[in-house]
Symmetry: C2
Subunit: 366 residues, 2 copies
């Protein structure tokens, strides 16, 4: 493996696995040989990624029996019905329970292929090749897999860990600017949760990231995965502290459900959600106006939305937030900020302040 590549280990006992980060990894046959011990390999990818990277991956898998499922591209296809196509292909190819599923694509492909790996014959091997920045820094760590239900995002799924993750930074060269920014949104989130020095690094290096400087990108991916792995290792099944990773996400899910999945990229909704969380954190006296401004400024510099779409009313927000998974028995719990780089899970906030935040984003230009 080349010198500039990094290997990070996610420590989860017997479910521990490595994340390989760097250029040229997609075509590294040695990685596949190390983690795939049976011949049958099913690549799950989509119509956008297949023409770009499928041949390279297939080329590195010449010692295996390889089949491929190409799914349509987009969050709107993350459904049980499309998921079922993976089983159609596995069964028509007569794949056994020792086979391996490889996810080649962004977060949607990773979620669907991982959930199929979790459920095919009650669990087969899984290898993840995230090809977007967001997937590299988000779904690389944590084992969350699943599909959407018309009534809510990621409502059907499983926790399932891969054997390894291959984050090839070369794949970011074909990412459009909007997708790049969406990934940076998730990176900013790790700084906000519990890594203030990483947040400062992002303030200093945002321009380099936007210019796709390889050294900056590799550092940001590694640091993000480390930050996420630390949170996940402490709480694999999300009984408690892992929910910190959902900073902004109660707002995010409401934005996505309100607009219809796929209108905004997930990372874009996360950016707006973090700004809303910052706004509420300031209103309840936890965050200073200056800290809120630092957050909003960095998000704007990353070319991300700093407020929700004005078409969603405060009433719609409240309604949509109530079916979010972060709800415990009817009580809304949010992740809010005590400071930049110090977030907490809480249901101790004034509902009036929450309404003020929700109304903030429709008060002026209507």
């Amino acid at each position: 493996m080349k010198k500039q590549n990094k290997t990070l280990r996610v420590e989860l006992g017997e479910r521990s696995y490595p994340i390989y980060i760097g250029p040229g990894l997609l075509a590294d046959a040695e990685i596949y040989r190390r983690h795939i011990h049976n011949r049958q390999v099913m690549i799950v990818t989509n119509e956008t990624v297949a023409p770009l990277y499928l041949a390279q991956v297939q080329g590195a898998l010449q010692s295996f029996v390889v089949e491929t499922v190409v799914l349509p591209d987009g969050e709107s296809y993350k459904t049980l019905a499309i998921w079922d196509r993976i089983f159609d292909k596995l069964l028509s190819s007569r794949f056994g329970r020792q086979s391996t599923i490889i996810a080649l694509g962004g977060g949607v492909i990773g979620d669907m292929a991982g959930f199929a790996a979790a459920c095919y014959q009650r669990g087969v091997n899984f290898v993840q090749i995230p090809t977007t920045l967001l997937a590299q820094v988000d779904s690389s760590v944590g084992g969350k897999t699943g599909v959407n239900h018309p009534a809510g995002k990621n409502m059907i799924g499983a926790f399932y860990q891969p054997k390894c993750v291959i984050a090839d930074t070369d794949t970011l060269n074909t990412l459009d600017d909007r997708q790049l920014s969406a990934g940076i949104s998730e990176i900013i989130k790790y700084g906000l949760i519990d890594d203030p020095s990483f947040f400062r690094w992002l303030e200093a290096n945002m321009d380099a990231l936007l210019e796709r400087d390889p050294t900056a990108l590799t550092f940001a991916i590694e640091r993000s995965c480390q930050d996420k792995a630390r949170v996940v290792a402490a709480d694999e099944l999300e009984a408690g502290s892992r929910a910190l990773l959902n900073l902004g996400h109660t707002f995010v899910h409401a934005i996505e459900a309100g607009l219809g999945y796929g209108e905004w990229l997930h990372g874009e909704a996360v950016a707006a959600g973090m700004c809303m969380a910052a706004d509420l954190s300031r209103r309840i006296g936890w965050l200073s106006a200056e800290e809120q401004e630092r957050i909003v400024t960095l998000i704007k510099r990353a070319r991300l939305p700093h407020e929700p779409p004005r078409s969603i009313t405060a009433e719609q927000f409240l309604d949509l937030m109530a079916v979010d998974k972060k709800v415990m028995d009817g009580r809304v719990r949010l992740i809010l900020m005590k400071a930049v780089g110090e977030s907490v899970i809480t249901d101790e906030f004034d509902s009036v302040k929450l309404l003020e935040t929700l109304n903030e984003y429709r008060s002026d230009d209507l």
Copy 2:
């Protein structure tokens, strides 16, 4: 709890749980209070069981918020599409991740409700109330959940353990004779796997079981669950020895897929599958003709089929067996018998002998 009731503990570390066995347990509010610690409870049942037992269970759950999903009855409805209805109801009822799903019904309901519990918001609490003899002695132990795919049975699923199992023997009073025999088939299987003294007990007590003698039934359920729990505890995720529980099942799945799911009851197919395994075991010199005869005789006494449907040819069998989950990389593995009460997993058998067994059941009356 009444004196004649038994409690058996399935030991699986932090996933250990009790099985309550005996009459009148369905309506015992104390059991539900002991194992359900949140208010939202979803009962999943079917059109046959609901009129018989739903009201009793609801009556015992008066301190909870209870919703119900009534699914159509039958193996042919064990599909992803029907499974999705459980999520429709969970989401329209705004159930959170602390909610509990109760399976009230036979094996199909247990498999679908358990799989929904495994996947709803990536896992919620699960309580099982098996109402058939087969479900009480089979799905009570082991945590196997899932749905069928048109190309294969139980191909999509998860290992997921309940918080407790309530095996109310009163529910067996409404079971028809064919269903009773199907349950006894699975009970005979435990004797054959590794419990020769239980097999002898069954030879002595088959008439009592068929007459639904409560003492005989309670003993048989308890012993079956103990036998199964011992095998499962040794190998929870079916990496090895747990496959013993699939005695006869490679033939079974071929019978079920060949006839179409639901033509034969699962236990009926298991009975024929065990006789086929005994036949092959005798042909390779492991089982004596007398031992084979003891097995066939007991199965006939239980009013169960001792041979597969003659409409399935040897060629169809071989084809259908190749997609069975017990296949490792193309090589067929079977569970065969060294003696009555001593089964082993093996791929060391002569394919010619297997063909002889498959042909045995179409050689004479065609």
